[in-house]
């Protein structure tokens, strides 16, 4: 695809995709049944498709590396690209509902891999509805970081149940996050920021990171600077509201 000189969607000099050919609306309906393949279970996720250099075959042994970072609603991939070089040994994936945007990220990663041999092999993207299918992709306690950057606010109260952070969905996110794993959320919509913070605060499987911990975490700075959305907010002089929480073992636990 990159070799095709006639392909206008790819910038000839950088080998990276041009955004204007991957235009998409910001909003996507998470309730509509889009048709995309969903893995039957986490063991059915094809790592050779996502990380071909690291996984030459789709057979994975039990001890092999697993995806640890998931960017939910990764948009145009800004955060993932930054994380990829910051954590070169960690496998990470972006999940995005919009078809065109997923294609853009795919092309971007492919272009970066070609331009920077050996790098960006640990990052990939998949088109899916993370509100329904997260348990299909990740085993219990698999992830160490989950990102929810500038999610769709769904302003109307009757649509609040479509928000990607909700008390019910936090159960699933807590399931795929390991104990000690971290969930990062940020938005420029104040009401949504308060909503996400209160959902996390009231959920017994999460506790907030302290100020010191936030300062010490290199990822926190990326939340507002690494994505296109974040950069736009900064340009417009807007405020951002973040909530970063750690997955904990709940105080009263049934023994299983």
């Amino acid at each position: 695809m990159l070799q095709n000189k006639a392909n206008p969607t790819i910038n000839k000099s950088t080998g990276l995709p041009r955004k204007r050919f991957y235009r998409a609306r910001a909003h996507s309906n998470p309730l509509s049944d889009s048709h995309f393949p969903v893995p039957l279970s986490p063991s059915h996720v094809d790592y050779s498709l996502h990380y071909p250099q690291l996984f030459p075959s789709s057979d994975r042994s039990d001890g092999s590396k697993k995806i640890e970072f998931a960017d939910i609603g990764c948009g145009f991939g800004g955060l993932l690209i930054s994380l990829s070089t910051l954590f070169p040994e960690t496998l990470m994936i972006g999940m995005e509902l919009r078809d065109k945007v997923t294609e853009y990220v795919k092309e971007r990663i492919l272009g970066l891999r070609v331009a920077n041999p050996g790098q960006y092999q640990n990052v990939s993207v998949v088109r899916t509805n993370s509100m329904k299918y997260i348990p299909n992709y990740f085993e219990k306690g698999q992830l160490s970081k989950m990102f929810f950057l500038f999610p769709d606010p769904h302003f109307k109260e009757k649509n609040h149940r479509r928000r990607v952070i909700s008390p019910h969905l936090l159960d699933e996110y807590a399931y795929v996050l390991k104990v000690g794993g971290i969930i990062y959320t940020i938005t420029d919509v104040e009401e949504l920021g308060e909503w996400m913070k209160s959902c996390l605060q009231n959920h017994l499987m999460f506790e907030p990171l302290s100020e010191t911990e936030l300062d010490a975490d290199p990822v926190v700075k990326l939340l507002s600077t690494a994505t296109e959305e974040g950069q736009k907010v900064a340009r417009n002089g807007g405020q951002t509201f973040q909530a970063v929480y750690r997955r904990i073992k709940p105080a009263s636990q049934e023994n299983s």
Binding site: L16, R18, K19, R20, R23, A24, R25, A26, H27, N29, P30, L31, S32, L40, S41, P42, M131, K132, P135, N136, K140, F150, D152, P153, H154, F155, K156, K158, N159, R161, P167, H168, L169, L170, D171, E172, A174, Y175, H203, L204, M205, E228, E229, Q231, K232, P250, S252, Q253, E254, S256
Partner: protein, 279 residues
């Protein structure tokens, strides 16, 4: 420069037609389905086989197996117990209680001694599945939006007038219809299965009214909707194995306690029935 070309992709105001249109579309198709589809009959057997209950449409019939006669259900309204198709019935609390619910959005809890309706819970949406905890203290029901609700029944007294209780959400399968709800024999877990091929096993907490947030496991492997769940207790697994059946060609899948998949046991259901009927 990519940055300079970037446009404002965010739509600040969600006044788009998607939301309302899609919502009414969902309800419309449900109503159309209602006219065309006939609610499947549901059956539930008392744990020690004292009685068996069958629901056909809005009709709930209970047969006393010990005395070999039909049972008259006593409801406060005096008329039919349910006004619309019953979607879920189940015995619970070691046979002391019985619950029925369905399209009329009413969850009715019955005492199996007097067969009087001792509590009625109103659901906001139509109910697709029901379950009672083993200690008889909680009734759970799932609505058509995939939310499982819980109501507490602390020492409900039969002699009182039936209580109208308010339910709170326990857990949810995002936008999926829950087809089956079961408590594990030891009462530690509640299992919910949905039409999107998923089975979720959740720890049933000491204070269920605060919600059940700890997911023990997801049992994934079905390639079609999961229609039924059951716990089978056998000598070699006294805590019970979870078996499930669904719309895919696998009749029954068996899940171990650590809740990954063990094996395919198509014959298990047949064996269980044989044992019951003494064939």
């Amino acid at each position: 420069m990519e940055g300079a070309q970037m446009e404002d992709f965010r739509i600040e105001d969600c006044e788009n037609d998607n939301n309302t249109h899609e919502d009414s579309q969902m309800e419309e198709s449900e109503q159309n389905n209602k006219h065309m589809e006939v609610a499947p009959a549901v059956i539930s057997v008392h744990p020690t086989r004292n009685s068996v209950a069958v629901a056909v449409g809005s009709d709930l019939r209970v047969f006393n197996l010990l005395e070999d006669c039909a049972v008259i259900l006593v409801d406060e309204a005096g008329g039919a117990s349910h006004n619309d198709s019953i979607r879920g019935i189940k015995y619970g609390a070691n046979g002391k209680l019985f619950v029925s619910a369905g399209d009329d959005k009413l969850v009715k809890v019955w005492s199996t001694e007097s067969w009087r309706c001792i509590a009625t819970v109103c659901s906001e949406k139509r109910v697709s599945a029901v379950a009672i905890s083993n200690d008889g203290l909680h009734v759970c029901f799932a609505d058509k939006f995939g939310v499982v609700w819980v109501v507490d029944l602390p020492g409900v007294d039969e002699t009182q007038a039936p209580l109208n209780k308010k339910a709170v959400p326990l857990l949810a399968h995002y936008c999926s219809i829950i087809t089956s709800l079961e408590f594990s024999p030891d009462g530690h877990f509640i299992v919910s299965a949905d039409r999107d091929f998923k089975i979720r096993v959740t720890v049933f907490p000491k204070k269920p009214l605060d919600g059940a947030h700890e997911v023990q496991s997801f049992c994934l492997g079905h390639t079609e909707f999961v229609s039924c769940l059951a716990f089978i207790c056998t000598p070699d697994s006294p805590q019970g194995s979870l078996v499930s059946g669904g719309g895919d060609s696998t009749l029954v899948q068996r899940w171990s306690r650590s809740l990954g998949r063990i094996s395919f046991l198509q014959a298990l259901v047949v064996v269980y029935l044989e044992d019951y009927y003494g064939w």
